[in-house]
Symmetry: C2
Subunit: 214 residues, 2 copies
């Protein structure tokens, strides 16, 4: 459950809004300028009522039975999510996963930009991966400031994860997307999202084995 | 919040248990047979109290100030999570992401086994990727039954995601790990976990922009 100063809603609502946005951007690419409530339902795979409900936490948008302008809807969603300006990402750890993330195609059309990568390996420092320079962790603070890094993606081995996190926090970065299978300790003022396929699968297995109320 | 017939606890508890398990398996590989409460804290990056609390939802394990046997602790965690038997995974969609998932190194040491992959592309059907055969979606039901698939990982393009999901549900598979940026409709009896980097980043950006109570 997330509460802003206006409203409370589930974290799944935020995920749905992000998915709506990704799919509407895709639709816009095909030259679709207006979209009916019914089409929204079909494209986003939710009922028009669910779509309206998700938006309703954030204000009044559109009217029942009347279509939306794609551009306007995208603007509204970008505004709600706060992604109506560019966000700069630093990839901490330029190994196999880190390099794949630098080249991640899913950012196309979004306002998320990978700006810098970091590593401790002298062999990697100074190399350029898909146009992104790999900097030394020793230059982390200066590089974060120079590039205006807002969010760090953590893709280092387990052993180095907390130390890298300490550097990220000390540099004033307030959000971390963590790919390491490790519990990270951060101050309450720093947000973490964890992505770990094995954990997600084991969570599914837990659900499969337990009589969980949903 | 998840509730079993015994207890309620946060979904983060389940993630932590899975991370504990991954790290304890790693420690066992190095030949560590016993482990003190203090070492647990250092290795898992949580306080011994947090560790005991997470386990306490599921029974009484270990005693304050006394060490654990690594093997026993791993068994307890595997038992809690229900991963003390093998689980068989089907990868639905053998594109760039699907092939990377087949070769995912993070499953090493776990009881999770990729058993089959599926695609609709005649060029891919019948090929073998890192030892795993790519089957036709037309043979989905029979192959799921033959290989005893418990969980499907969905890595198809957005356009085909719901149709593939319908096949998964119809085949009786009760858990889906979804990598497509799409809202999937499934019956209440089927569990879904979503992994989508852009959504996770946009969720972080939402947190950064809102005065959320944590």
């Amino acid at each position: 459950m997330i509460c802003t100063n206006k409203n409370c809603f589930s974290t799944e609502t935020i995920r749905r809004l992000s998915v709506y946005l990704q799919n509407l951007r895709r639709i816009r690419e095909t030259g679709t300028h207006t979209i009916s409530s019914r089409e929204i339902g079909a494209i986003l795979n939710v009922t028009p009522a669910q779509f309206r409900k998700d938006l309703s936490y954030f204000g009044e948008f559109g009217r029942r039975g009347v279509g939306y302008e794609t551009d306007q809807l995208i603007s509204v969603l970008e505004h709600i999510l706060g992604v109506n300006k560019a966000y700069y990402i630093g990839i901490v750890g330029a190994g196999r996963l880190g390099r794949a993330l630098i080249n991640y195609h899913g950012f196309a059309g979004s306002n998320i930009r990978v700006r810098a990568a970091f590593d401790v390996d002298p062999e990697k420092i100074g190399t350029v991966v898909h146009g992104i320079t790999v900097y030394a962790m020793d230059d982390f603070f200066a590089t974060v400031r120079e590039h205006g890094i807002d969010i760090c993606v953590l893709s280092v081995p387990v052993e180095g994860a907390q130390q890298a996190t300490n550097s990220i926090v000390a540099a004033g970065v307030k959000a971390i997307l963590n790919f390491s299978p490790v519990i990270l300790q951060v101050p309450d003022t720093v947000y973490i999202q964890n992505i770990d396929m094995l954990s997600e699968l084991e969570r599914l297995i837990f659900y499969l084995n337990n009589d969980t109320s949903r």
